[in-house]
């Protein structure tokens, strides 16, 4: 009883000891904040990585891929058994996307071209939740939608496509008229009738943006300003076969003209109504995230759903030859992992197989480069991987069987290492605080020498005297780490407000969304971690009080009583 009473009284009257515990408080608070933020980051990253990647990837190492994926799928289903949730076939290719931005420039960007099966890919990883169009999140489709994309690109969709198609058409018309005007000026063959009527008007430099905007203003996306409605035949003819008007008058009527014309009419691609095979681009391919004049973070899109991009990719044969194809952007993909957002481009698996001639003409079997598996929740990833490796040993089969953690191993390990090192450093801070407690306690023991003598004279055993100081250390540690815990938790709960406040005071972005892709600092409070931190620092405080307490216990009562 006297132990508790005395250590309580000491606690209340010795503020210097409380000061020595401030460093414990700070250490605990910092540890909690650091661990929560690191854990938040790690979990968020884990989640994102895992959502993007499937559990296990079974991939061939060549560009030609696995010639008979169904066989392997059977084998895998057989080996994995009940743990298997779903399987999908995928083609992974290095590719180059050429994006024409209005104004005439083309951006060439490396992309990771991924051919996915619309029906099954979403069941293997949480791919669809990262798509911008809400309906695509429900059910993936590579068809362009009418609208309803992200609010950042209100126009995207068919209306956008029609608007630009109209602009394109107007531009082509402009070019054609310009050519005709030149033909008229130089003594070359037969000017057409209506070109002369128009020749005055378009001499002013053509502003494509303005005219496109003008076209977009009225809801009807019909061919716009420079040329009012025109016979589609003539326009198409001019576009599809620009040499025909030249050939006509000079060589007389070509008997094949008629057919050529019809053929052209049938085959011609009408961008206002048709689309190329769809492609879903990573959002960082399609946009740049920058600050506007007011300092707000904003995404600038140079490609939106509805635009066309050219993709060049290697063919399946050996040696690979470049293939080129046009795709229409039908959606964007935003996983908020910059590595993926800046390289992924998804296209329909079948399209890619056809373009690359991966379908066996005899059997109809289509090759793929990898098979991706999703296991049931709770299944042991490593065990399944080992079973697969046993069936397909790497020395005999040129396949790589990797889990998603293997794919992102270095990143995950780096985060882990960072957390460990930070924990060690911060615990060292608390250990330093422990030495402060040690010194303070020695002083208190010296100061209390006479009291210790009195207690012993009254019959207090050495153990009792020792436990006064141990419980004093314990209560100091608990007070220190308790306050630290409260401070740390408050900091964690209000960390985003604090970041905003710091931003306001320093004028500097604490947590830059252009870098991190998070709008807020993610935090996760792990009760177990906090218990560990608090227990550890209380332990340090108690251990620091052991030596002074031992000294107090060993004091000789007579000498202690005589101590002045």
């Amino acid at each position: 009883m006297y132990k508790l009473l005395l250590s309580w009284r000491y606690l209340r009257t010795r503020y210097i000891a409380l000061a020595s515990v401030v460093s414990v408080t700070l250490g605990v608070a910092t540890l909690i904040v650091v661990n929560s933020v690191m854990e938040g980051f790690a979990v968020e990253m884990h989640k994102r990585l895992h959502d993007v990647l499937s559990d296990i990837v079974f991939e061939g190492q060549g560009l030609e891929g696995l010639a008979d994926p169904d066989y392997y799928e059977q084998e895998i289903r057989h080996i994995v058994g009940d743990d298997l949730q779903s399987v999908t076939h995928v083609i992974h290719l290095p590719a180059m996307a050429s994006i024409s931005i209005r104004g005439g420039e083309t951006i060439n960007q490396y992309v990771n071209l991924i051919g996915v099966d619309e029906k099954t890919y979403g069941s293997v990883c949480d791919f669809s939740q990262f798509l911008l169009h809400p309906e695509n999140r429900q059910k993936l489709s590579f068809l362009l939608r009418d609208g309803g994309y992200d609010p950042r690109m209100a126009e995207a969709g068919w209306s956008h496509r029609r608007m630009w198609a109209a602009w394109e058409k107007a531009y082509q018309e402009q070019v054609r008229m310009e050519q005709e005007r030149r033909l008229m000026q130089h003594p070359r063959p037969a000017p057409t009738a209506h070109a002369a009527d128009e020749s005055g008007e378009p001499s002013a430099p053509f502003d494509p943006i303005a005219s496109a905007e003008a076209a977009a203003e009225p809801p009807a996306p019909q061919p716009p300003a420079p040329q009012p409605p025109q016979e589609p035949d003539a326009a198409l003819a001019g576009e599809a076969s620009p040499e025909t008007p030249v050939a006509g008058p000079r060589g007389g009527r070509n008997p094949f003209d008629q057919f050529r014309r019809e053929e052209a009419q049938q085959d011609v691609f009408d961008p206002t109504k048709e689309q190329h095979p769809g492609v879903i681009l990573g959002i960082a391919i399609a946009s740049r995230r920058q600050r506007d004049d007011n300092g707000n973070v904003k995404d600038y899109f140079f490609v939106q759903p509805g635009d066309d991009v050219q993709v060049s990719f290697p063919s399946a044969g050996n040696p690979p030859k470049p293939l080129h194809a046009s795709f229409t952007v039908v959606d964007l993909y935003e996983s908020k992992m910059s590595e993926y957002d800046s390289t992924f481009a998804f296209v329909p698996l079948r399209t890619l197989q056809e373009l690359r001639n991966m379908i066996d003409p005899l059997t109809g079997t289509a090759a793929v480069t990898s098979i991706q598996l999703k296991l049931k929740p709770g299944a042991n990833l490593r065990a399944v991987q080992d079973k697969l490796l046993k069936r397909f040993p790497p020395e005999r089969y040129p396949y790589r069987i990797r889990t998603w953690q293997d794919l992102q191993g270095p990143l995950l390990q780096a985060v882990q290492l960072e957390t460990t090192i930070l924990n060690i450093l911060l615990f060292l801070i608390i250990a330093v605080a422990g030495f402060g407690i040690l010194a303070t306690f020695f002083m208190i023991v010296v100061e209390k020498t006479r009291d210790i003598g009195i207690l012993k004279a009254l019959g207090a055993p050495s153990g009792g005297v020792m436990s006064i100081f141990l419980s004093y250390g314990l209560s100091l540690g608990m007070v220190g780490s308790g306050v630290g815990m409260v401070l740390g938790l408050l900091f964690v709960f209000y960390i985003n407000d604090i970041a905003d406040g710091l931003e306001y005071i320093t004028g500097r972005e604490v947590f830059d969304p252009t870098v991190y892709y998070f709008t807020e600092i993610p935090t996760i409070v792990e009760p177990f971690t906090i218990a560990w931190i608090v227990a550890g620092s209380v332990m340090i405080a108690v251990m620091a009080s052991v030596l002074p307490a031992l000294r107090a216990a060993r004091l000789h009562p007579v000498r202690a009583l005589r101590y002045e």
Binding site: M1, Y2, L4, L5, L6, R9, Y10, T13, R450, D451, G453, I454, L455, K456, A457, L458, G459, A460, P461, S462, G464, H556, P557, V558, L561
Partner: protein, 261 residues
């Protein structure tokens, strides 16, 4: 060592007047021996030099006696008291308390002895500054019992403590800290603390040494009253001959030996 029977021991103490007509003191020679020391030798070591303090002290304290030990500074009287109170162990010799040898007890036994059977007061009172008067008096009880038992019996302890504080005339100062008390009050609190366990023996180490004449007399009177009313055996160390003369018996220490008076 004479061992009279219990029957004639108690009345003998009570019936005797404190002061005999000729100014001589009560005689306890018929009472039983409470404390007995034989050939006590104690020296302190200061570096390589050994300083002998007690060089063979024999003494006995009888039940109900008020004994004073006098001697000059450095004569070893405080050391002797510490040895009797088991605060320190003698180099040689034996100490018996109620016929049980106590100088070679294990430390736990000595702790219990000091806590329950021997009360001690000091020149500088030695109250715990963080505790109130009442808590100081309760301290031996707290030490004696564990937290739970103390808590269960706290009312009894509190009553006992208030009772002894009333006995020493300090019931109006229960919640004051030692530094708010006068010297006399502090010594009274210390006496109350020594008495709360109802010990048979009170060892007083210069209890008036830090007090003025008048207060010193009051304290002595209090001790005498307790000696008489409670049959408390008191051993007082003092260098004040005047005070010593008012006690039942005087032992003089000189150069580490008892000087027969």
């Amino acid at each position: 060592m004479s061992q009279p029977s219990l029957a004639d021991q108690q009345p003998a103490v009570r019936l005797r007047p404190r002061y005999s007509a000729n100014g001589k003191h009560r005689d306890h020679s018929g009472a039983s021996t409470l404390l007995y020391a034989k050939n006590l030798v104690k020296s302190y070591r200061k570096g390589p030099i050994e300083v002998p303090v007690l060089k063979g002290v024999d003494m006995e304290v009888r039940q109900g006696e008020f004994l004073s030990i006098v001697g000059q500074s450095g004569s070893g009287k405080s050391t002797l008291l510490h040895l009797l109170g088991t605060l320190d162990a003698p180099d040689q010799g034996e100490i018996y308390f109620s016929d049980r040898r106590i100088d070679n007890l294990p430390s736990r036994g000595r702790d219990v002895l000091r806590n329950q059977h021997i009360g001690m007061i000091f020149q500088f009172y030695h109250l715990l500054p963080e505790l109130t008067t009442l808590e100081n008096v309760l301290a031996p009880r707290m030490i004696a019992h564990g937290v739970v038992r103390y808590w269960l019996e706290r009312k009894k302890h509190l009553e006992d403590a208030k009772e002894v504080l009333e006995l020493v005339g300090l019931s109006h100062r229960l919640d004051h800290r030692p530094r708010e008390l006068s010297g006399g009050e502090m010594q009274r609190a210390a006496i109350a603390r020594a008495l709360v366990a109802h010990p048979q023996l009170l060892l007083a180490d210069e209890p008036t040494g830090n007090l003025d004449q008048k207060i010193g007399r009051e304290i002595l009177a209090l001790l005498q009253r307790l000696n008489e009313s409670r049959n408390l055996t008191v051993v007082m160390v003092t260098h004040d001959q005047g005070l010593a003369r008012e006690t039942d018996r005087i032992i003089r220490l000189a150069e580490g030996r008892v000087e027969q008076a």
